[in-house]
C-alpha cells in the first residue's frame, strides 16, 4: 500500500528484488574510520575485553552470538558422542558405559542444548550481524535490549550447565513430557534448574523478538518495501513473528512446570485430569512452529547463497515469499500431529493430518524454486554453495520422510522409533548445514579476510559423508526404540556405522575451526564484496562494516541502493580507526560489481544534528542478566515453596535475594542511564508507520503477553473441561473481594489516564498525584489479595491442595506478579515526575499506561472465570 516505489522498469541492469544491485566503491575508508572515532571515546576497541561486556552494537552482538552458539554446538556434540559410544552395541542396564540415568540426561541435554542453545542463536548471530545492514539501518531499534538478549542467552546457557552439578540435569527427554517432568519422577534439583534455564532463554527470545520486529517493520531504508526486502531478512522476519507467539506459549508451559516443581502446584501430576495431555498441547503449540523457527533462517541462507553463486535471482521470488508466509501461518495449526498416539479424538487427528499435508505443499514450491534457480543459473562451487546445496539435498530427504509421520496410520508404527530420530536430524541438522554455509559466506564480511577455500571444501566433504553415515543408517535401523540404549542385536552394524559417522561429522568441525581461526588473522584481505553477483546491501560497505554501518543515509528510492551524505559527517576529516578491526578493509577496493549502481548524493543537512550521536556502550544488560541468573539459581532448590534445610538452603536463599537486588538495581540504573538509540529518518515502516518505535515495541510485547496469559487461561479452561466444567466450583466462595479488586484496578486504570492527560497539559502536580494514586491503588489491590489468600490458606486451600486451587493461585498469582512489576515502574515514574520529568515528553507515561491497562483487561477475565463462574 504505502509502497511508494519508483517504477523499476528502466535500465535492465537493475534488479528489483531484495537484491538491489550494489557496487563496491561507495565511500572511502577514511570516512568510515572517523565514524568509529567520533563515538569511540567511551567505547573501547574490539581488542579490549571491556568492549565485549559493554557493547550494544548489533555486529558485536552478532559475533558474540555466533561464538557462544558454537561453544554450545561443541557441548551438545560431545554429549551426542557419548550416546553414540554407548550405542555401539546393545547393552543391558548393568553393563553400560554411561549409567542409565546419565544416558537419559545426555539424551535430554543434547536435545535441549542443540535446539535452544545452538541452532537458533547461531542463526540469530547472522541475523544480528546482517539484517540491519540489509535493511539500511544503523542498528536495531533498541540496542541495549539487543545486548540484553545476548546476555540472557549466555546466562541461561550457564544456568543449564550448572544443572549438571546439582545432582544431575533433566533426564526426561527434550520434550519434557508430563508426568515425567514433575519432581516425583525427576527429583534432582538440576532438573528444576534446567527448566528455569529454559525460562531465562525464553526471556531472551522474547526481548529479541520485540526488538527485531520493531526494527524490521519500522527501520527499513526509504524504498525498501517488504516486497523488496532480501530473502534472508524475509526469513528472519517470519521467524521472529513465529517466535513472538510460539515462545509465549512455551513460556506459559514452562512457568506452569516451574510452579509444579518449585511451588507444588499439580497441573501435570498423575492424578490431575488430562495433565499429561495439557503439557503436550502447550509444548507442541510451541514446538511445531519451533521447527520452522530453527529452519527458516537456514532457508534464508540457502536463498541468498543460491542467488549469489548461481548469479541469478531466485526463480519465482514472489511465490517463494508467499509460500514462506503460508508456512509461518500454517505452522500454528499442525501441532497435534505430534500427538497422534495420545488420547485425543480421531476427528481432530484427521483434521491435523490434513493440515500437516497442507503445510508440505508450500515447501514443495520452495524446493522447486531453488532447484530451478540452479538450472537457470551458472553455478560456482564455492564452499558456501556446497554447504547450502548439500543442505537442500538433506532437507529433501528429511522432508519426505516426515510426510510418513504425518499420516496417522503410519505414525502408529513409527512413533517413538529411530525413524523419527533420523527424520528430524535430517531436517534440523540439514538446517545446520545451510547455516554453516552461511558462516563461510559471511566470514569475509565479518572478519575482512577470506577463509581457505581448499580447507573449506575438505570440511564439506568430511561433513557430508559424516552426516549421511551418521543419520542414514538410523532409517534402516528404524525399529530401534527412541531414547533407549538397548536394541535388537541384529541392528548393531547399522548403529556402528552411525557411530563412525558421528565421529566423522564431529571431527570435520575441527577443520572448520582451524580454518576460520587461522584465516581470521592471516587470511587474504577482502574487498567490500568478495563474491561476484552478491547483491544485498551488506556487500556495499567495507569488510568489516564501520561501526554505524553506512556513510550517510541509505535509500532505495531510485530502485537501487544509494547513500545520501550530509555535509557534516563529510567534513570531519580522516582519523585513525578506533575499531581495532585491522587495516584489511576494502579502502582501495575497486568496483568489481558488473553493474555499479551505487551513487552518492550530497544533500544539505536539514537539521543540525542535535545529539552527539548514538551510544554504543552499556554495562547494564550484562548486570541485569547476571541478576536474573542469580535469582533463578537461588530458587532452583525450592520444593513446595520451601528451601531445603540447613546451610545449603540458606546459601540458595541468599543467592536469590542478592539476585533480586542486582536485578532491581540494574533496571533502575538502565532507566537513568543516558543512552541514545540509533537516529533514523523514517523510511519504509509498513504497517507501523507514524507510530513511535517505543510504542510499537510495547504493543508487540503485549501481543506476546496476550499469548502468555492465553496459555495460562487455556490451561485452566482445558483442565476444567477435562474435570467436568460445571462440577468445578470457584475456589473463593465469595465473589465480593474479587469485585472490590475489580473496582480498585479499574480506578487505577482511570488514574493512569488522568496522569497522561495531566502530563500532556504540563500539569506537574496532576501528574504526580495521579501516578501516586495509581501506586496506592495497586498496593490496595495487592493487600486485598493477600488478605483473601491468607483467608483461603487458613481454610486449608493452597497451591498444592488440588488442581482447582493450583489453577486459581497460579493464574491470579501471575497476574499479581504483573501488578507488582507495574507498581515498581509506577514508583519510578512518580519519583521522576516529582523531579519534573515527563512534562515535555510524556511517552514513558503513555507506554506504562498501555501495560497497566492490559493488566487491567486480564483481570476483567480472571475475575469472572475464577470468582463467579
Amino acid at each position: 500500500m504505502s509502497d511508494t516505489n519508483p517504477e523499476r522498469t528502466g535500465g535492465g541492469s537493475e534488479r528489483t528484488d531484495g537484491g538491489t544491485e550494489v557496487g563496491s566503491e561507495v565511500v572511502s575508508g577514511g570516512h568510515t574510520d572517523d565514524h568509529d572515532h567520533d563515538h569511540g571515546h567511551d567505547f573501547p576497541g574490539t581488542g579490549s575485553i571491556k568492549r565485549w561486556f559493554v557493547t550494544t552494537n548489533h555486529k558485536d552482538v552478532g559475533i558474540l552470538y555466533i561464538v557462544t552458539s558454537l561453544f554450545f554446538l561443541v557441548l551438545g556434540g560431545v554429549l551426542a558422542w557419548l550416546m553414540r559410544i554407548q550405542l555401539w552395541a546393545p547393552r543391558a542396564p548393568t553393563e553400560t558405559i554411561l549409567a542409565p540415568v546419565a544416558y537419559n540426561q545426555a539424551v535430554s541435554a543434547h536435545g535441549l542444548l542443540m535446539v535452544f542453545w545452538f541452532l537458533s542463536p547461531f542463526a540469530f548471530g547472522f541475523a544480528n550481524y546482517v539484517v540491519p545492514l540489509q535493511l539500511g539501518a544503523k542498528d536495531l531499534a533498541f540496542p541495549r535490549l539487543n545486548a540484553l538478549s545476548y546476555w540472557l542467552y549466555l546466562f541461561s546457557g550457564i544456568l543449564f550447565g550448572v544443572s549438571f552439578f546439582q545432582g544431575g540435569t533433566f533426564s526426561g527427554g527434550w520434550t519434557m513430557y508430563a508426568p515425567l517432568n514433575v519432581p516425583t519422577f525427576t527429583p534432582d534439583v538440576g532438573a528444576s534448574t534446567a527448566v528455569l534455564a529454559l525460562v531465562l532463554f525464553v526471556a531472551s527470545v522474547t526481548v529479541s523478538s520485540v526488538n527485531f520486529l520493531t526494527t524490521m517493520h519500522r527501520m527499513r531504508a526509504e524504498g525498501l518495501t517488504l516486497r523488496n526486502m532480501p530473502l534472508f531478512s524475509w526469513t528472519i522476519l517470519l521467524t521472529v513473528w513465529m517466535m513472538l507467539f510460539a515462545f509465549a506459549a512455551l513460556l506459559a508451559a514452562l512457568m506452569v512446570l516451574s510452579a509444579d516443581r518449585l511451588l507444588g502446584t499439580t497441573y501435570f501430576a498423575m492424578e490431575s485430569p488430562a495433565g499429561a495431555l495439557l503439557w503436550t498441547h502447550l509444548f507442541w503449540f510451541f514446538g511445531h512452529p519451533e521447527v520452522y523457527i530453527v529452519f527458516f533462517p537456514a532457508l534464508g541462507v540457502m536463498a541468498e547463497v543460491f542467488q549469489t553463486f548461481t548469479g541469478r535471482r531466485i526463480v519465482g521470488r514472489k511465490w517463494f515469499i508467499i509460500a514462506m508466509v503460508l508456512v509461518a501461518i500454517q505452522s500454528f495449526v499442525v501441532w497435534m500431529h505430534h500427538m497422534f498416539l495420545t488420547s485425543i479424538n480421531l476427528q481432530v487427528k484427521t483434521l491435523f493430518m490434513i493440515t500437516t499435508i497442507g503445510i508440505s505443499l508450500p515447501f514443495d514450491l520452495m524446493v522447486f524454486a531453488l532447484i530451478y534457480t540452479m538450472l537457470k543459473g551458472k553455478i560456482r562451487f564455492t564452499t558456501p554453495f556446497l554447504f547450502v546445496f548439500g543442505a537442500l539435498l538433506l532437507f529433501i530427504i528429511g522432508g519426505i520422510t516426515g510426510v510418513f509421520l504425518g499420516a496417522v496410520v503410519l505414525d502408529y508404527e513409527f512413533r517413538g522409533t529411530y525413524w523419527v530420530v533420523a527424520h528430524f536430524h535430517y531436517v534440523m541438522v540439514g538446517g545446520v548445514t545451510a547455516l554453516v554455509g552461511g558462516l563461510y559466506y559471511w566470514f569475509p564480511k565479518i572478519t575482512g579476510r577470506m577463509y581457505d577455500e581448499f580447507l573449506g571444501k575438505v570440511h564439506f566433504a568430511a561433513y557430508f559423508v559424516g552426516f549421511n553415515l551418521l543419520y542414514f543408517p538410523l532409517f534402516v535401523a528404524w525399529e530401534t526404540p527412541r531414547r533407549v540404549f538397548d536394541y535388537a542385536p541384529e541392528l548393531a552394524p547399522w548403529h556402528q556405522l552411525a557411530t563412525i559417522g558421528g565421529f566423522v561429522l564431529g571431527l570435520s568441525f575441527l577443520i572448520m575451526f582451524y580454518n576460520l581461526f587461522k584465516s581470521a588473522f592471516t587470511g587474504d584481505p577482502v574487498s567490500d564484496n568478495p563474491w561476484e553477483y552478491a547483491t544485498t546491501a551488506e556487500w556495499a560497505v567495507s569488510s568489516p562494516p564501520p561501526l554505524e554501518n553506512f556513510e550517510g543515509t541509505p535509500t532505495y528510492r531510485d530502485g537501487h541502493l544509494s547513500f545520501i551524505l550530509d555535509r557534516e559527517s563529510d567534513a570531519t576529516g580522516g582519523a585513525t580507526a578506533a575499531d581495532g578491526s585491522g587495516g584489511a578493509t576494502a579502502d582501495g577496493g575497486v568496483a568489481t560489481s558488473p553493474h555499479t549502481a551505487v551513487t552518492t548524493e550530497y544533500e544539505p543537512t536539514v537539521e543540525a544534528t542535535e545529539v552527539e550521536g548514538p551510544s554504543h556502550a552499556s554495562i547494564w544488560p550484562f548486570v541485569l542478566s547476571l541478576g536474573a541468573f542469580l535469582i533463578l539459581l537461588g530458587i532452583s532448590p525450592l520444593q513446595d515453596t520451601a528451601f531445603p534445610e540447613g546451610m545449603m538452603g540458606a546459601a540458595y536463599a541468599t543467592t536469590a535475594v542478592a539476585g533480586f537486588g542486582v536485578t532491581l538495581g540494574s533496571l533502575i540504573a538502565m532507566g537513568l542511564e543516558p543512552f541514545h538509540g540509533p537516529v533514523f529518518d523514517e523510511g519504509e515502516a509498513w504497517p507501523f508507520s507514524g507510530i513511535d518505535n517505543g510504542k510499537v515495541g510495547m504493543w508487540i510485547f503485549l501481543a506476546s503477553d496476550v499469548v502468555l496469559f492465553g496459555g495460562f487461561l487455556g490451561a485452566y479452561i482445558f483442565t476444567r473441561f477435562a474435570f467436568g466444567w460445571t462440577g468445578w466450583q470457584p475456589v473463593p466462595d465469595d465473589p465480593i473481594p474479587g469485585l472490590v479488586n475489580t473496582y480498585i484496578l479499574l480506578t487505577s486504570s482511570f488514574t493512569v489516564v488522568l496522569a497522561l492527560v495531566a502530563a500532556e497539559k504540563k500539569h506537574k502536580l496532576g501528574l504526580v498525584t495521579s501516578l501516586g494514586a495509581t501506586f496506592v491503588l495497586g498496593i490496595g489491590f495487592l493487600v486485598n489479595k493477600a488478605l483473601e489468600w491468607q483467608h483461603l490458606f487458613h481454610e486449608g486451600l493452597w497451591l498444592s491442595t488440588n488442581v482447582r486451587t493450583s489453577t486459581f493461585f497460579l493464574t491470579t498469582g501471575l497476574h499479581a506478579a504483573h501488578v507488582i512489576a507495574g507498581l515498581i515502574v509506577a514508583l519510578y515514574l512518580t519519583a521522576r515526575a516529582w523531579r519534573g520529568a515527563y512534562l515535555e515528553d510524556s511517552r514513558s507515561v503513555e507506554y506504562f499506561g498501555l501495560y497497566w491497562h492490559f493488566v487491567d483487561i486480564v483481570w476483567l477475565f480472571l475475575f469472572p472465570l475464577f470468582y463467579i463462574l
Partner: protein, 86 residues
C-alpha cells in the same frame, strides 16, 4: 483528543458493568445463560479499555490487528485443545 469528562464516563460504565456481573450471578439464572451474559460483559469491558484507555481507536489499525493475532492464537489453542478431549 478527548476530554476528561469522556474518560470519566467510560470509567463509570466499566464500574457499573462489573457490578452487573456479580448481580447476574446472584440473580439465580440458569448457569449457561448467566455464563453468556457475564463473558459478554467482560469482553465488552475489555474492548472499552483497549479502545479508549489504550486509545487503540485513534491508532493505526495495524496495532489492533497485532493484538488480535495474539488473541486468535490463544483462542485457537484453547478451543482446539479442549475439543481434542471430546
Amino acid at each position: 483528543m478527548v476530554s476528561t469528562k469522556f474518560y470519566t464516563a467510560i470509567y463509570v460504565v466499566l464500574f457499573v458493568s462489573a457490578t452487573i456481573q456479580v448481580l447476574v450471578e446472584f440473580a439465580g439464572l440458569a448457569y449457561w445463560a448467566a455464563f453468556g451474559i457475564i463473558i459478554v460483559l467482560s469482553a465488552a469491558k475489555a474492548v472499552l479499555v483497549a479502545a479508549y484507555f489504550q486509545h487503540l481507536r485513534w491508532e493505526p489499525r495495524s496495532l489492533t490487528y497485532l493484538v488480535g493475532i495474539g488473541l486468535v492464537a490463544a483462542l485457537a489453542l484453547t478451543v482446539a485443545a479442549s475439543y481434542s478431549l471430546l
